[in-house]
C-alpha cells in the first residue's frame, strides 16, 4: 500500500521549514533507515530517514529545493512494485498487473509508471532567473501560474507576484535581496515565543576573572592546542554551581505547562554562536561529568558545525541553561533572551582591567567582567536566582 511521505515537524514550535533537497531520486528503491531528503527545521539542517520501504514516487506538486514548506505537506509516496500513485492523494491499493500481461513498455502509458506523464504535465517549472528573484523577494514560485512556454514561470511572473505581495518595495533592499530569510524568520519566531511565554528579569553583577585570564595565558604559553574559551570555562563552573541550586536547575515541558527538575548528570549547557546565517545555540552535553578538555573539544566541534550549517536538531536541544558572550564586542552588560524551554541564560561581558581594593585596603589591578543573568520569573523567583549568581561569582573568583 502506498505510504505517504510528508514534511515532518522537527520541534514543538515548528510550523514550516525549508525543504532542502531529495537525496533519493524518483523511482529509487528506498529501504527503511536510508536517508530520504534533507530539510531545515527551526535552525538546523536535518537529514530525514525513511521510515518504510518502497519505490520513491515524488509527488507531482512536491516542493522544489529550497522551498519553504508547511509541516505536513505531501512530498511523495513509497510504492510497491506496480503500485499506482493514489489519484485523489489518498493511499490506494496497488493496481494488479497479472503475469500474462505483456511487457510494460509495450503498453504505453499504462506501463509500470503510469503516473509519469501526468506528473510531468503538472510539474511546475521556473527559469533560473525567476527562481533567483523568487528567493530574493520571498515569493513562493511553485504556487504561481507561469506565462512562458508550457506554463514556465518567468522573471516577470515572479515580479508581478512580488508586487502583489508588496514585498518588492518593502522587503527588498536597494540591492534587491530580502534579508528576512526563512532562517531569520525561524529565529525571530523562537525569540518572539520566548518573549511571550517567559517573564524575563536580568540581574547584573561584577566578577573578578583574573584567575581565569591567568589560567588561559598559561595554557597559551604551554602551547596547548585546546585553550579553553571563556565560554567553556564558564560552562564548567555554571554546571558545578547549578548542582548546588536545584531551584535553578529546572526546565519547562514541551507545552510550557510543567516545570521539571534536571538532574546534575544531565546538565547540558547551550552556547550561543553567531553565524553568517544567524544565531544558533548548540548544546554541550553532560558538562558535569566531562573534563574541561572534553568540553573544549566538544564546543569547538559544535561551533564549527554551526558555522558550516551542519548542526542537527538534537545538537541544539535539551539544554538546562545557555551562555552568551558579547564581551569581544566590548559590551559590558545586556539583557539576553532566554532560550526556552530553559529558564535562564547567562551573558558574559567584556573583560576590563580595573583597580580594586583588596581585603587589606590595598589597590591592586584585576581583570573584571559583568555577568548578566536573565531568568524566567515565572519559573523561579529573584532571590534564588540572585543566590545562584552570587555563588557563581565566588566559584569563579576562587579558582586557582
Amino acid at each position: 500500500m502506498a505510504e505517504e511521505i510528508r514534511f515532518p515537524r522537527l520541534g514543538w514550535s515548528m510550523e514550516e521549514g525549508r525543504f532542502v533537497q531529495w537525496l533519493k531520486s524518483d523511482g529509487d528503491l528506498v529501504r527503511e533507515g536510508e536517508i530520504l531528503f534533507e530539510m531545515e527545521g527551526e535552525k538546523a539542517l536535518q537529514e530525514i530517514e525513511s521510515v518504510g520501504n518502497g519505490i520513491l514516487k515524488i509527488a507531482a506538486d512536491a516542493p522544489q529545493p529550497d522551498e519553504v514548506v508547511q509541516v505536513g505537506r505531501l512530498l511523495g509516496y513509497l510504492l510497491l512494485p506496480n503500485e499506482k500513485v493514489p489519484e485523489d492523494g489518498s493511499p490506494s491499493q496497488p493496481t494488479v498487473l497479472t503475469d500474462v500481461q505483456p511487457k510494460a513498455d509495450e503498453q504505453g502509458p499504462q506501463g509500470i509508471e503510469p503516473a509519469e506523464d501526468s506528473i510531468s504535465e503538472s510539474r511546475v517549472i521556473a527559469t533560473p532567473r525567476a527562481r533567483r528573484l523568487a528567493q530574493e523577494t520571498g515569493v513562493v514560485w511553485s504556487e504561481l501560474v507561469g506565462s512562458g512556454r508550457d506554463g514556465r514561470i518567468r522573471e516577470a511572473d515572479v515580479r508581478n507576484a512580488a508586487k502583489a505581495l508588496n514585498v518588492s518595495s518593502q522587503g527588498v533592499h536597494k540591492d534587491g535581496a530580502n534579508r528576512f530569510t526563512p532562517r531569520r524568520k525561524m529565529i525571530a519566531e523562537r525569540l518572539r515565543m520566548s518573549r511571550e511565554q517567559t517573564i524575563p528579569v536580568t540581574l547584573t553583577t561584577q566578577v573578578d576573572v583574573s584567575q581565569l585570564v591567568a589560567y588561559r595565558e598559561m595554557q597559551k604559553k604551554m602551547q596547548n592546542v585546546r585553550v579553553p574559551a571563556f565560554t567553556d570555562l564558564f560552562a564548567k563552573h555554571v554546571a558545578i554551581v547549578l548542582a548546588r541550586h536545584p531551584a535553578m536547575s529546572i526546565r519547562w515541558n514541551h507545552d510550557h505547562t510543567e516545570l521539571h527538575d534536571v538532574p546534575a548528570s544531565e546538565f547540558h549547557i547551550g552556547i550561543a554562536v553567531d553565524t553568517s546565517d544567524g544565531l544558533l545555540v548548540p548544546v554541550i552535553r553532560d558538562v558535569s561529568t566531562k573534563s574541561l578538555d572534553e568540553i573544549v573539544s566538544q564546543s569547538k566541534a559544535l561551533i564549527e558545525k554551526a558555522r558550516s550549517g551542519r548542526l542537527t536538531r538534537e545538537e541544539m536541544s535539551g539544554g538546562v541553561l545557555s551562555i552568551t558572550n558579547l564581551g569581544s564586542f566590548g559590551i559590558d552588560a545586556f539583557t539576553p533572551i532566554i532560550n526556552a524551554p530553559e529558564i535562564a541564560i547567562l551573558g558574559l561581558g567584556a573583560i576590563r582591567r580595573e583597580p580594586m581594593f583588596d581585603a587589606y585596603g590595598q589597590v591592586k589591578a584585576v581583570e573584571r567582567m559583568v555577568l548578566s543573568l536573565t531568568f524566567d520569573h515565572a519559573a523561579v523567583d529573584g532571590a534564588p536566582a540572585a543566590a545562584f549568581l552570587k555563588d557563581l561569582v565566588s566559584e569563579i573568583e576562587s579558582v586557582h
Partner: protein, 662 residues
Amino acid sequence: MSNMDTHIDRKVVLQLYRTMQLIRQTEEELARCHQRGLVHGACHTYVGQEAIASAVCSNLNDHDAVFSTHRGHGHALAKGMKPLELIAELFGREAGCSRGRGGSMHLFSPEIGMMGTSGIVGPCILQACGGGYSSKILKNGTVGVAFFGDGAANNAAFHEGLNMASIWKLPVLFICENNQFATEVPFAYAAGNSSVASRGAAYGIPGIEVDGNDVIGIYRVAKEAVSRARAGEGPTLIECKTYRTRPHAEGMGDFTYRTKDDVEQWKQRCPILRLRTRFSAEYSSEFDAIDQEILEQVRAARAEAEASPEPTSESAMTHIYSPPQIVVKEKPSPDRESKVITFSQATLEALTEEMAVNPNIFVMGEGIGIRGGNFLTTKGLYAIHGPERLCDTPICERGFVGLACGAAMTGTRPVIDFMFADFVLDGLGEIINQIAKMQYMSSGRLKMPVLLRGCIGIGHSAATHHSGSYYGMLAQVPGLKVVVPSMASDAKGLLKHALRCHDPVLFLEHREILQTKEAVPVDEYEIEFGKARVIQAGSSVTVVAIARMVHLVLAASESLKQQGISVELIDPRTVTPLDSDTILQSLAKTGRLLIVDEAPAHCGFSAEIAARMVDVGFNELDAPIKRLTGAFCPTPYSPSLEKVVVPSVEDIVKSVVQLMQE
C-alpha cells in the same frame, strides 16, 4: 674523385670530424638512454648520415636559418646546439632546447638559427623559403636551409617550395638527405623519377647529386651553393645519397623492409670512418684526442641532463601567445572627427598606414600586386612599395602560407591575402601545425606575426568554394587569433592591431559587407582583441551576432522595436579571444539570449557562446538560449536554394519574437 685533388684546410677537416663524432656519440648515448626509459617519446637518430649536417652547417653562421625534419638531432648539433640542450629536451627537462615542450621532433634554438625540427614531412622546405624571403626583405645576406628526406621530395611542399624559390631567386639551400626509405617505404617504389637532383631542372634551379657519406664532397658543394645564395643567384637543390644504419625510430623493428646485410654494408661506408681513413696519415693523434674529448663531453651532458629538473607544471600553458601588445591609441569617442568610408577603404587605410611605418611587412597573394587585390585590399600599395613587398604568388596556397611561417620565424611580418578564405583550407596544415604552434613549441622564443586574411560569407551565388565561414573551426586552434569584424571602424582598428601584435591572426572579412559604410575616426587608433562591442543598447533581449549577421540584426531590430521589443546587439568582433564578460553583462540585464550566426550551429561559434553562458550565466536566464544559424549544408548556387541556408532579417525577427514568448 676530384675532391682528392685539391687541398683541404686542416682546420676544416678537424672541425668536420669533430661535428660528425659529436653527432654520432650523442646519438648512440641517446639510443642507450632510450632503452633506459629516459627518453619519453620518439627518438629518430641520425646515425650514418652525419656527414651531411656537418658539411652543410660548417658553411653557415648563426644568422642563417636551418629548418629541419623529424630526424633532426644532427642538424641541431651541427648548427651549434649544445648536447646538453638536445639530451635534456629528449628527457623532457627544463634545460632542454624547447624547455621540455617539444622532444625529438621539435628542437628549437632560434638564437643560433636552429629554427626547429618538425614532426610533419614537408613544411621545412616552405619555411626555408620564408627564411630566404626574409633575407630579401631585410637585406641581411642570410640564407635559409631546408634539410629533408627523400620522402619529402614526393610531397607537394617540395614542388611549391622549389618553384617559389626559383621564381623569386630566394637564397635557399634544399638539402635532400636521400636515405632511401620514407620511414619504411623504399624511395625506389615511391618515386617515378628516382633522381631527386634531376628535378631541379623542372623548376629551373641547379640540382646536384652528391655522395652523402663523403663529408668533404658535400662541404664543397654546399660552400658553393651558399656563396651563390648570398650573391643573390638563387637556390640550389642538393641530393645527398646516404643511409641510416639504425631503425627509423629507436625501439622499432628494422628488418621487414631491408636486410641485415644491407645495413652492414652501409656501416662499412661510415662517413666518420671514411674521413679518418683518408686523413689518418696527417691527423691520427688529433682524431684520437677529439674522440676522447667528445666522449667525455657527451657523458657529462647526459649526466647533467639526467640531473636537471623537469619543467614545473604551472608553465604548461605559457607561451601559447605572445605577451599582449599594449594598445597605445584606443578608438576615439564618436564625437571626434570622423569620415564615412566603406569597410574595404577602412582596412586599406590600416594596411597602408602600417606598411608605411613598418618596412618588415610584406603582402603575398594572388593578384595583390599591380592589380591591387581582387577586393582592392592592396590598392595603390604596389606603386609605393614595389614587387618584393607586394608579392604576387603562383596559385599555391600551402606553399606561400608555409613560406609566411618561415618568414615570420626569421623576423619579417607577412600578410597573406587569400582573396577567398576557402583557399585557406589548402594551407591548413601549415596554419594549424606550424604557424599556430610555433610560439609554444619554441617556448616563446619565436614570435609569429603572421596576418592571414580572406573573404568569407554567403551571397551573390558565390557557391560553395567561395562562401565558407571557417572561424568556428579555426577558433579551436590554440595559438591562433581569429578576428571577424562587422563594421568599418572596427575593421580598421582590428587590422591595425593585427599588424602590430606578435601572434598569428586570421582576419576574415565578409564579402557582402565590404561596401557597407560607417563613420571612421580620423585620428590613428587600434582595437584590442577580445573586446566585444555593444552595437546597440536594448533591454528586452540580448542578440549576439558576427560579421554580416550584425547588419541583419540591426535591420531586424527596427521592426522589433515596433512590437515593443528592445534588442541589445553585441558583436564579439573576435572569436578567439572571445569576450564572455560583455555578453554576460548584457544577459544579466535582459535574461534572454539569441545567437545569430551564418555558420552552422554544430560545434560552432554559437555553440561556444551558448555553452559559456549556461555555465557562467545560468541564474541570469529567463528563457532557453536560442541559436539562429546557417544550415549544416554546403552553400548551394541557385538563389532560391542559397537564401534558405542562411538566416534572413525575417528569420531573426521571428526568432526574437519566439524567444520573447519562451
